[in-house]
């Protein structure tokens, strides 16, 4: 199923669609407020982009520096070229230590690798501990947002889910009550876990340590209780120096949720007493993107989610409609980079309004990338025939001005007197949710001509 079909399901519930739209716009507005509170905001974005560009010019050097420094601090480093290898490393680490119970904090990378089902098949009890992720895990859904995994759900949905799995009171959907219930439920999981797995927000080459940002404290709680801490990190998460974090921490949470900083910004540079810390560096298609002039900037992403919150398509179609691990504008370029054919509808889930590029803290050229990927889709012959034909006809007509004028004239005469049943027949996909504007008597060209002549 492509994006249009999946989105159609989402928008079938009009009320919920508008609710979703508003909820995300609210987050976008909070971001604006936070950003406007920092006079040097634009300078921060500029510097962040420079740091990332610098890193991408010598990523191999920084990754090796990172490994060396991490090892010096007693941290084990593994390299995984793809999802399969990553998952196998995790499983082996767990099995070798007899670990059966794993608590996880948020990691889009492990979603991308489909780690959970793999571990479960191999007898590991996996618990996502971020509240939003736990909710979607219990519902056997994927996160619909990279920062707000359960943003597609209403509190009543969460209430019913918890009623079923956590035996909470029937009909009680008070967020505080539900959060407290989850806290009690997950506290037990934390205390009984054999191992923890976290994502990585930043890997610091200079020090060999990693930084994880959370609001709930779940990454830290997991990693500080269990003896084994595994951190999964994409190759692009590297930053050169610890001081660079000033720039990124100032940008990240303000862009994400409008908070000045996350509750916890934790710098892990050692295992817990008597424990082990392992970092898995994962490629899984990333290095290939480095070599693409048009798309390499997508690797600079710090996963703040701002481009999702601002996107008029994301807000109205929901994260699940993208069918890719990462939804929204950034996912619509990363998806095709991974597999063009499977994600061929994503670059079209875009109005080219450029709002994403404008809010992106790293100034990634997102809308340009989506525009370019459309051309890749067409060149690869992957565009749906109907769309392709319509575009071809349109291009041909537009190349012939007199034909366009003639067509316009006819349309202005006929359309206003056509019965609705024909005008809004199933052939008119555009008109499904839209009303045609009132047709004017004259075309712009005619008006312009009249105006010019009148002036003379």
């Amino acid at each position: 199923m492509g994006h249009p079909e999946a989105a159609e399901k989402f928008i079938a519930n009009d009320e919920r669609m508008h609710w979703h739209d508003k909820a995300l716009w609210f987050v976008r507005e909070k971001r604006d407020l936070a950003a406007h509170g920092i006079p040097e905001w634009e300078e921060l974005r500029r510097v962040a982009k420079q740091i990332k560009t610098h890193v991408m010019s010598k990523l191999d050097v920084y990754l090796e520096e990172f490994e060396e420094n991490a090892k010096e601090k007693g941290i084990h480093v593994h390299w995984a070229k793809d999802a399969k290898e990553h998952n196998e490393i995790v499983l082996k680490l767990l099995l070798n230590r007899g670990a059966k119970k794993l608590v996880k904090s948020k990691s889009m990378l492990t979603e991308e690798c489909h780690l959970n089902p793999y571990l479960e098949e191999n007898g590991i009890d996996v618990v996502d501990t971020d509240l939003g992720e736990r909710i979607v895990q219990l519902r056997e859904e994927a996160p619909s947002h990279i920062v707000l995994p359960a943003i597609h759900l209403k509190k009543e949905d969460v209430g019913t889910t918890f009623e079923h799995f956590l035996k909470t009171e029937k009909g009680n959907s008070d967020p505080t009550y539900l959060t407290r219930s989850a806290r009690v439920h997950l506290r037990k999981k934390f205390l009984n876990a054999d191992a923890s797995l976290t994502g990585v927000n930043f890997g610091i080459a200079e020090t060999g340590g990693i930084v994880v940002c959370t609001n709930e404290g779940n990454a830290d709680l997991g990693a500080s209780l269990a003896k084994l801490h595994i951190a999964s990190m994409g190759i692009e998460k590297i930053i050169p120096k610890i001081k660079d974090l000033a720039v990124f921490t100032r940008l990240l949470s303000r862009s994400a949720t409008g908070q000045p900083i996350t509750s916890y910004t934790s710098h892990f540079h050692a295992p817990v007493e008597g424990g082990e810390m392992h970092i898995i560096i994962v490629d899984n298609g990333r290095s290939k993107i480095l070599g693409s002039q048009d798309f390499k900037q997508s690797l600079n992403c710090i996963r703040c989610g701002a481009c999702l919150n601002t996107c008029p398509i994301y807000r109205r179609s929901g994260g699940h409609s993208y069918g890719y691990t990462i939804p929204g504008p950034i996912g619509s370029t990363l998806g095709p980079s991974k597999d063009l054919s499977a994600n061929k509808t994503l670059p079209f889930a875009c109005t080219l309004c450029a709002s994403c590029s404008n809010v992106c803290p790293i100034k990634i050229d997102l809308h340009h990338q989506l525009y370019k990927y459309r051309q890749h889709v067409v060149n690869a012959g992957l565009l749906a025939t109907k769309k392709h034909t319509i575009l071809k006809v349109a291009a041909w007509v537009m190349k012939h001005p007199s034909l366009l004028d003639f067509g316009g004239k006819i349309a202005r005469k006929i359309v206003p007197i056509m019965p609705r049943s024909i005008l809004y027949s199933s052939a008119n996909i555009w008109g499904k949710k839209r009303e045609l504007p009132k047709f004017p008597k004259n075309s712009f060209k005619e008006l312009y001509k009249q105006h010019k002549e009148g002036k003379k």
């Binding site: 740091i51 991408m56 601090k73 941290i75 209403k154 959060t179 404290g217 209780l225 001081k243 290095s287």
Partner: protein
């Protein structure tokens, strides 16, 4: 070829970005006329509260403000009324029932209400997250404006663990309603002495 080599080779083959200099990250930044006021406001916005203690008597402050608190642990030598020694147990799990942790932070950041906490002498990191309430002690002269100055003071030449804490743990994962107290402390007070 090992996976490490495969990855590094692939990176080398694909790198088309020409090297640009690493920019200066300590850019000119906002400074606050009244840092204390800004700090208190920033912290309040994330659900914490800041208190300036005139007489420096932390014991008295705790006795007054945390009356019904039973299990108190501390990593701060200026506070002497702890009821348990958090460094004593061999596993952090033993700290599960800590009601209040009094911990030391090195400095505070005005722009975001955070404090930097790195206490190598604290044995169990879990203390910061298992405790129901946190009382964080900071030198009243140790407030910086922004994260730029903050990171000037941070290094990890040796192994270790350190973090910025900004208010209590929280979540807004259910319909964007902010709930204070997710997995970690449900209350965080910053005490400047």
């Amino acid at each position: 070829m090992s996976s490490k080599e495969t990855i590094l080779n692939s990176i080398r083959e694909n790198t088309i970005t020409s090297t640009i200099k690493l920019p200066e990250t300590n850019i000119p930044h906002i400074s606050y006329e009244n840092k204390n006021e800004k700090y208190a406001a920033a912290l309040a916005s994330v659900g914490g509260n800041a208190v300036w203690l005139e007489d420096g008597d932390i014991n008295a402050f705790v006795a007054e403000h945390y009356k019904d608190t039973e299990v108190i642990a501390s990593t701060c030598k200026e506070f002497t009324n702890e009821t348990i020694d958090a460094n004593k147990p061999n596993t952090p799990h033993a700290l599960e029932n800590v009601d209040l942790a009094v911990i030391k932070a090195q400095f505070a950041v005005a722009e975001n209400g955070a404090v930097w906490v790195k206490n190598p002498e604290n044995r169990h990191r879990a203390l910061y997250f298992l405790a129901k309430q946190l009382l964080i002690i900071v030198d009243k002269n140790a407030i910086v404006d922004t994260m730029h100055e903050a990171y000037e003071q941070i290094e990890f030449n040796k192994s270790g663990y350190g973090l910025f804490i900004s208010g209590p743990s929280k979540t807004a994962d259910i319909e964007q309603s902010l709930v204070i107290g997710a997995h970690g402390p449900t209350d965080a007070c910053i005490l400047f002495v």
